[in-house]
Assembly symmetry: C2
Homo-oligomer: 380 residues x 2
């Protein structure tokens, strides 16, 4: 169970320091001690979001915090522009639909990224758009949206800028305040490399102002309740949090702080570039447009003549490396390599060694060592 | 940090076996291995609920699962009868209000329990009541509602029977199928004695039938999504679960199974009776009506002449025992001793030793040993 290397777009392998922190005795979540840990963790989250605003932890998945993000700033009937170029863009739209928020889809071909110009056009064409939702890093396709450049457009409009950085924060550049992001959400189990089950959110002043005018659609995900409890001294959560996952987040964020956010992001870019080069060296084809390919996950087409189940099954069972399959209509045609969290050169060597052996053994490539040879060059 | 004994109505001290299980490496939540653990855990949950129906885990607090419980079986405008005799009864009502469900409060004086006759009267008076929500164990007051007897009433009506057993399941008698309960919810951090952050829910056929006619009000807490994923083979959750807390729940439920559910419930009743007797021996007065006092938490009045902060602060700082304060209007007047989860005689001796020393030292009682002497008799 412990020997499988997770090369997934989350969850990622969790460092023993974080697992040890998580297994500390559970304290009372209304105690001063927990309040101190929560406050420190919230502050570290704001540091990683690169925002002066307060951040809040919510016990739940990335989906929970996406729902908290969008449902508290829009009333039913108000319009949101959802950029949809993959499974998680779709999810934002489905969440908004579930709350009776009026949705307008800005459809982007899977594997490509939305452009700032497309956002500008949509906003110019319809003044009733109150918010725009963008998934920064679409793990289903391996595409990173240009959130910095979109932020420059958003600056000139009143619409709120809602960004899902679940699989990018601490692995790719996200600067909430500089990018004019109003609502930013993330999860524990991606680039932060804590176990899954905890999520975080931050709101700008404009987002809070919108929130004041919205009747909360839900109770558990009511952001006003998180603000009220979070601003107590010591800080609290409105409902019982996962104390253990708070320990884990705290330790994981301290490890990121020790590494340095910039260095960590650079490490992710290096791993992404090395992965793309090694994949090409093995004759594999990128699913995503290379110009917008993700810093944290690479989606590749499964070579003709191979089946997904035998390919990923053998890589897993014989070599102990777990790769991700495709989602929805990409199932069976695409596989994905996550290189997020604590992944560095050695895990990539293991992964490309396994893939190279498998591909040469099955007659797909002549030189199974081409991937690892390429990695040597990337890490020279 | 590790030396504080939690005598709280949750979270409770977590056994090292459970903490160790939790710190195992995180596996892919879409893997066969996780599916097996989830299926086993769901089955153990159904065993503890004493139901033939399927149970589902939801990553979140007890509040999340209360919201999932009530918001998926009632449409906006439909009426629920909320029994309110404490903070958690109130919460059910607030959740229903947040979803536009029509609420009717059956107010019960804090410290007393609703009677089956009151439920019957309310149902007879208003045929439009589609559901009744009851909190089995109201931790804010230390009162247990007669859910078995209410179940006999509910059997004769079409209204759904929604029961919060967050702080009673595995500590007091809960037999979902025999009691005609349609929606039963619980949390990880109370009598199950796992860390907080995970919750569980089970639906009867009637609840599922109602659910079919309800447009889900939320996305993260949409029960149809949990059913769809949970019924896959291997089982899944619709959104990324807390894998670590699933391990913890699995281990904690296995420990309960090893102890035996009946024996565990009997142990809780014994601890509750011993606590009440020892408290009386120290001259302390119960807040709750003794006839309906809880099997898992005892609420006591703070003796005149003492302040809550000095009393509980000293018990904590000098003796390492954390007692709970009162909630809402009971703050400062009531304190609470949780005796749930793994608590047995030795923790009660520590607690009553600390309280006895403090009370005699402060001139409140003459014989500070009266509490522990009483405990000896209870455990003869």
């Amino acid at each position: 169970m412990d020997d499988i290397l997770l090369m997934l777009p989350g969850p990622t392998t969790v460092h023993p320091r974080v697992l040890n922190a998580m297994s500390q005795a559970v304290v009372n979540h209304r105690s001063k001690r927990y309040g101190e840990i929560l406050t420190e963790t919230n502050e570290l989250m704001s540091k990683m979001f690169q925002t002066e605003n307060q951040s809040y932890l919510i016990t739940g998945s990335g989906t929970a915090v996406m729902e908290a993000g969008i449902s508290n700033v829009l009333n039913a009937g108000e319009k949101v522009l959802n950029v949809v170029g993959g499974k998680f863009g779709e999810r934002f739209k489905k969440i908004a639909d579930a709350h009776g928020i009026k949705t307008q889809e800005l459809a982007v071909e899977w594997g490509t990224a939305v452009t700032p110009e497309q956002i500008k056009e949509a906003l110019d064409a319809d003044e009733s758009i109150k918010a725009v939702s963008v998934v920064h890093n679409e793990t289903s396709t391996g595409v990173a949206a240009p959130i910095k450049e979109i932020g420059k457009v958003m600056k000139n409009y009143d619409a709120l800028y809602i960004v899902d950085t679940v699989s990018s924060l601490c692995g790719d550049e996200v600067d909430v305040d500089k990018y004019n992001i109003d609502v930013c959400v993330t999860g524990s189990q991606k680039c932060i490399a804590a176990p899954p089950g905890m999520a975080a959110i931050t709101y700008s002043d404009d987002a809070w102002a919108a929130c004041e005018n919205v009747d909360s659609h839900t109770f558990y995900l009511d952001m006003k309740a998180y603000r009220k409890s979070g601003n107590k001294d010591p800080a609290e959560t409105p409902y019982t949090p996962s104390v253990s996952l708070t320990y884990a987040m705290n330790e994981a964020l301290k490890m990121i702080d020790e590494e340095g956010l910039d260095k960590r992001v650079a490490r992710h870019h290096k791993a992404a570039n090395a992965t793309v080069a090694a994949a090409k060296a093995l004759g594999l084809e990128l699913f995503a447009d290379e110009k917008v390919s993700s810093a944290t996950v690479t989606a590749l087409k499964i070579p003709e003549g191979l089946t997904d189940s035998d390919f990923r099954g053998t890589i897993r069972d014989e070599f102990g490396v777990e790769l991700a399959g495709g989602q929805d209509h990409l199932k069976g045609n695409v596989f994905r390599i996550g290189h997020m969290g604590n992944i560095s050169y050695k895990e990539l060597f293991q992964t490309f060694a396994a893939m190279g052996i498998y591909l040469e053994r099955n007659g797909i490539v002549e030189d199974g060592a081409a991937g690892v040879s390429s990695l040597v060059k990337s890490y020279l």
